[in-house]
């Protein structure tokens, strides 16, 4: 088990290294105005050249990469150029991350709490009205553009209850609607997956044997099916959780939540190469952490992995 974890960690660090290097190299190909910011027009070409040289952008790529990694290890992702001039990129991300994590974790917790049990019930009552209702909900969420029901919720529900339209840090009630809106999609996907995996498991031979030895249907559900159905979910769960945490552009802008959702778009529009680079590295690290967590979760629930024979059951 330990050996397996170690191996996965080393692999991930290597992957991360490759990704960061590629991101860094690609961003060197972006227009250089991005490094000059608002000052670009006021500078002569010679001045621009000196400025860029001072930033280290005229060094050979390999030296730049070295400098960059040196900074990275000290937690320095450089300074913002146009987005918030001269503010360290790390600080910018930190400020916004707070809100996104708060909402992200909240939404994930809510969708797990509702989505997984919903999926289980749908599997248990497959073909009956509860299953149909759930399926209807899933189809609705998938088929109708999210923006439509996000807007409806904001417009009507706030009206009914007299709740604030916009997010206000100091008013707990203003958390509720964005949270619910964020959870609607994930609830549907968790329910759909859980139902599907449960139904798959219920058709397997070991369930027939459990029935034949006289185990009650409900006991079969909870003692045998649930854990098996959870395995395919376990691997993707952390990645989806992190995905939710990184923010929903729609909802954050709808409720004016100062989260991470719009940050990348803003930074790209303003050609702030430093912030873009910082964000891409941040997101990919999160993604990779998610994958590792997924594998670890799998290794915990699935005894077949512990032997370390293969690295994946798939």
């Amino acid at each position: 088990m330990l050996k397996y974890i170690g191996k996965r960690l080393v692999q991930s660090i290597f992957t991360l290294f490759v990704i960061i290097t590629i991101v860094f190299s690609l961003l060197r190909l972006m227009p250089e105005e991005g490094y000059l910011g608002a000052a670009a027009e006021k500078m002569t070409e010679a001045q621009q050249e000196i400025y860029l040289t001072n930033l280290g952008l005229r060094d050979p790529l390999i030296v730049q990469l070295g400098n960059f990694y040196q900074g990275l290890f000290q937690g320095d992702l450089g300074k913002s150029i146009t987005y918030r001039t001269d503010v360290p990129v790390v600080d910018i991300i930190q400020d916004k991350m707070m809100y996104s994590i708060l909402f992200g974790l909240g939404a994930v917790a809510l969708s797990l709490l509702v989505g997984v049990p919903l999926g289980i019930l749908m599997a248990q009552f497959k073909g009956r009205w509860l299953d149909r209702l759930g399926t209807g909900y899933i189809v609705f969420v998938v088929a109708v553009p999210a923006m439509v029901y996000f807007l409806m919720i904001q417009m009507y529900v706030t009206g009914w209850f007299g709740w604030p339209m916009l997010f206000d840090e100091y008013n707990p009630i203003s958390f509720i609607l964005p949270l619910i809106s964020m959870a609607l999609g994930p609830i549907a996907s968790y329910a759909m997956w859980m139902r599907r995996y449960m139904v798959d498991e219920l058709n397997k031979d070991y369930i027939k044997l459990a029935r034949a030895k006289g185990v009650k249907e409900r006991t079969i559900m909870f003692r045998h099916v649930l854990r098996n159905a959870f395995i395919p979910m376990a691997q993707y769960l952390p990645a989806t959780i992190l995905f939710t945490i990184t923010g929903s552009i729609y909802i954050e802008s709808l409720y004016s939540i100062p989260g991470m959702g719009g940050l990348l778009v803003d930074a790209i529009q303003r050609q702030d190469n430093q912030v873009v680079q910082g964000l891409v590295i941040f997101f990919s690290s999160l993604g990779i952490i998610g994958l590792i967590l997924g594998d670890l979760l799998m290794a915990i629930v699935d005894p077949r992995i512990k032997l370390g024979k293969g690295d994946s059951v798939r």
Partner: protein, 346 residues
């Protein structure tokens, strides 16, 4: 002889996309106390459906159309609720399934899976249940039981897993044990060991056993009696010797002829020509008639009754009717029958 389980005029149908398929056509069959009865027939002849119905495990689209399954004064054919069936499943009738690679829960230790049966059916808990489980593991021929108890199915070979499945069935402490093709998925060398194990356990625990197989060769080793099944009907039943060496139904002849032992070296094995009937259509007469070179006119019109060959041996073929022309079994079989009977007399 006293029968434990008595199936009477059982008809089982399946609904499939608006059509109805008749999988079991008016079967009557008894399982006597302590005997081992084999049900033999081609794949698709309805063997699994028949035994599943005994445990209330028919697929959702299947139902008992008519007939009785008498067990201990109950008619299992009338059972509807899970509560009814829980009195039977495991406790009275247990099952060994075909494929040991998929029959065990991959996420539970084999020990726990056996113990689940022990706790459910033997009124034991905690340490006692654990000890009993170890005992069962030993009974099915597993070594180092304490270590093996904690292992997961993927750490066992196919043959070993089948031993675990058998332990699970025996742990229920049943009266009747149903083995649905218990060795089909296993290597030939391991097949013999598993059959031996089942025979031993049957004697040790005084079980009445039903063996299902499509392999007549397997049956000879384990069965006291044989029932031959074709297209959802039983067409011949008798003691093992009787069915082997004095078979009366042309389908049984065909089955025996396809035994590898009867093939000439280098020649292709005998195989039955034609295909089994379409179960969606009503079957008239003897279902085997269209593939039967000895078929009489009446075989296509009226279902033959069971003709009595001996007190224990019956066959559903018009060839046994007094008015039927005298028909001899194929030459190879005659020799085989001779030899078998001589062997049996000695």
């Amino acid at each position: 002889m006293e029968s434990t389980l008595s199936i009477q005029n059982l008809v089982i149908k399946f609904k499939l996309r608006g059509q109805t398929l008749t999988a079991i056509r008016d079967i009557s069959l008894d399982l006597y106390k302590g005997e081992s009865l084999a049900i033999v027939g081609e794949s698709g002849s309805g063997k699994s459906v028949l035994v599943k119905s005994i445990m209330g495990l028919l697929d959702k689209n299947g139902y008992i159309d008519s007939g009785k399954i008498l067990y201990n004064g109950h008619d299992l054919a009338k059972f509807k609720t899970e509560k009814d069936w829980l009195k039977i499943r495991g406790k009275q009738i247990a099952m060994v399934t075909q494929d040991p690679m998929t029959s065990l829960n991959p996420l539970k230790t084999v020990g726990k899976q056996i113990e689940e049966s022990v706790v459910l059916h033997q009124n034991l808990k905690g340490k006692e249940a654990y000890e009993k489980t170890l005992q069962l593991l030993r009974d099915v021929g597993i070594h180092e039981v304490e270590r093996r108890y904690k292992q997961y199915p993927h750490e066992f070979s196919g043959g070993m897993r089948q031993r675990i499945v058998i332990a699970i069935a025996v742990a229920c402490n049943p009266d009747v044990l149903i083995c649905d093709e218990p060795t089909t998925a296993l290597d030939v060398t391991i097949q013999a060991q598993i059959l031996q194990l089942l025979t031993n356990l049957q004697q040790k625990y005084g079980l009445s056993t039903i063996y299902i197989t499509h392999d007549l060769g397997v049956v000879a080793k384990v069965a006291d009696r044989i029932a031959v099944m074709y297209a959802g009907d039983i067409i011949e039943v008798g003691k093992t010797d009787e069915v082997f060496f004095n078979a009366k139904h042309p389908y049984t002849w065909a089955l025996i002829s396809s035994l590898p032992q009867l093939g000439e070296k280098g020649e292709e094995l005998y195989s039955i020509k034609g295909t089994p009937p379409n179960l969606f259509k009503e079957i008239k007469g003897d279902a085997f008639a269209p593939r039967n070179q000895y078929a009489l006119k009446i075989d296509f019109v009226e279902r033959p009754p069971f003709f009595k060959v001996s007190d224990t041996h019956f066959a559903r073929t018009w060839l046994l009717d007094l008015k039927a022309p005298k028909v001899e079994p194929p030459k190879v079989l005659q020799a085989f029958f001779e030899e078998g009977r001589r062997y049996a007399n000695e």
